[in-house]
Amino acid sequence: MDSVMDWMTTTWINQLVLGYAWSWPTLESLHFLALCTLMGSLLVMDLRLIGFERVIPLRAVHSLMPVALVSFAINFVTGLGFLFGDPYTYAANYAFWVKMSLIVLAGVNFLVYFTKVEPAIINLGPNEPTPALAKAVGVMSLVFWFGVLSYGRLLPYLGTGGG
């Protein structure tokens, strides 16, 4: 683990993130913008899965998925920038590991949605109720992602501090 962190600090990514005064604020601005679009698209999709706003056809609500995926990709890349910039601080902070674990759980939840829920519901029309598994996946998605957001924001104040 120490050698991985040592290697991170020798990369060009580390140079880019720490070498310019504007790098870190720019990455943070992008990270925050994409978290807004991620949470906004998730709220609409998950609330529909849970059973609210049934006037939305499930195939139509699914058109928000690219927004969520692109937003997550932006946050993954900018997040890697923070990690390569200051790996020792993050690795020593338990809030960082809670946040990463919650992202993994959200990923598993997404796989359940992708393999089990989506095939069963994609052709449901407006006003049709969703199955219990769909509701559960929708609730867990909101729990995990708001958890990711909270632990991400708490990161500098918990553990030994970082970012």
Binding site: M39, G40, V44, L64, L158
Partner: protein, 174 residues
Amino acid sequence: MLAATLLRITTTFRLGEHRVGFLVWLEATGFADWVRMSTLGYPSMITLHAIGMAIMVGLSLILDLRLIGYFAGIPVAALHRLLGIAWIGFGINFLSGSALFSAQATSYIVDVVFMSKMALVFLGAATAAILQPAVVKADSWPGGRTPGGTRAVAFIGIIFWVGAIITGRLTAYL
């Protein structure tokens, strides 16, 4: 005439002093001290602020994008109702933001980046408040197309929100 001018100048000066006096008082309250110094104060308020932001800005941006022409299969009426949840997010942000402001009121009030952020947040919220009644009759829009004026407000809303997020983040640095 001269006396009236002098009186006006002194009154303005006193009002100015009063305003600063209020911020000094605010910053000295026990609550502001709790936000600034306690283990829970600042972290809990800043986390609520991020949660409220994600809800308000996230849902507003999805509605703005829908009105511009994306996700055409999603009924505008549904996103209009979800705007109610967005305003709850805004309320969370107003309260947590006021708490965070109280902790450093006298520095924030002279911070150009922070004051720009505040202007952009209220302009962004104003676009949402304008869109809320404007989209009620979305079902009767000819061909389902957003009217030009409403589309323009949605577009401007995106610019305000993006500006608010960026200046909000930069407040921590400048």
